[in-house]
Symmetry: C2
């Protein structure tokens, strides 16, 4: 058991998960025009808990391989992008910048899945739900941005 790697990946996922706890949907989000297929708020922590566990699991498997470098660099890119979305969307109320972040996140996760696939197919499959969820969340972010033009380039809060 490689405890350093496991602890490092758990801390990374925990830091990203923490922003979801610190920056939550509030009054502002409630007041937005949202599509009918918006999930209930309680779906987010459930989905993300599962996804963070899968991320650590897949990352840990890949880290044991001798050619882990590029795949783990992509893992680092996705966790950093993942960590900044909630502060940007729920904290700054900037759905445009948040959409850019989630679009980059989608690309990073897709590239990570490809890199995992070449090394360990099981790790790649573990990340499939993540890509599905980001596709859904990204579409939701885009539609919210589109339907709420007054906040489209929302002012930074003082």
């Amino acid at each position: 058991m490689d405890l350093t790697t496991l602890a490092a990946l758990v801390v990374a996922a925990g830091a990203a998960a923490g922003t979801g706890v610190l920056f939550q949907p509030g009054e502002w989000y409630r007041g937005l025009v949202k599509p009918a297929w918006t999930p209930p708020n309680r779906a987010f922590p459930i989905a993300w808990t599962v996804l963070y566990v899968l991320m650590v699991w897949a990352g840990y498997r890949i880290a044991q391989r001798p050619d882990a470098g590029p795949a783990l660099a992509l893992w680092a890119a996705q966790i950093a992008l993942n960590a900044v979305w909630s502060p940007t969307f729920f904290g700054l109320h900037r759905p445009g910048i948040a959409f850019l972040q989630i679009a980059l996140l989608w690309i990073a996760v897709a590239a990570m899945i490809a890199a995992f696939w070449a090394r360990d197919i099981w790790s790649a499959l573990l990340m499939a739900p993540y890509l599905v969820w980001i596709s859904y969340a990204g579409a939701l972010n885009l539609v919210i941005w589109d339907r709420n033009p007054s906040i489209a380039f929302g002012q930074r809060r003082p």
Copy 2:
């Protein structure tokens, strides 16, 4: 040249750097009681630009090695913790939680330097300024938290 790894590390560092741009010192920070050794605001972007470049450089060197796994997992942990500090401190005005994050960041970077040292001493040395800066920033965060008790457990902004 391993462009996938380089791009992934640049995107990760860019995501973290982006929170420093989105969440900046403002009125609130100006109004805090700060120690005499607080750096001028313009020091932060200069220091961080250098540190992000060094981070990518060292991470890239390590990623080329066959035993990169644990070292890059620690790199991922530090970039995630790095990305969440500015939103917590400057966005939420929560110096207590921000100090916890920077303390974890210090541990992650120290562990990363140890892991780098065992693989490539040059990469470890490249990260020395980062640890020095986090020690300084962490001390500053702690003293600000201590001297501004009214915001010690600051309310989340609505």
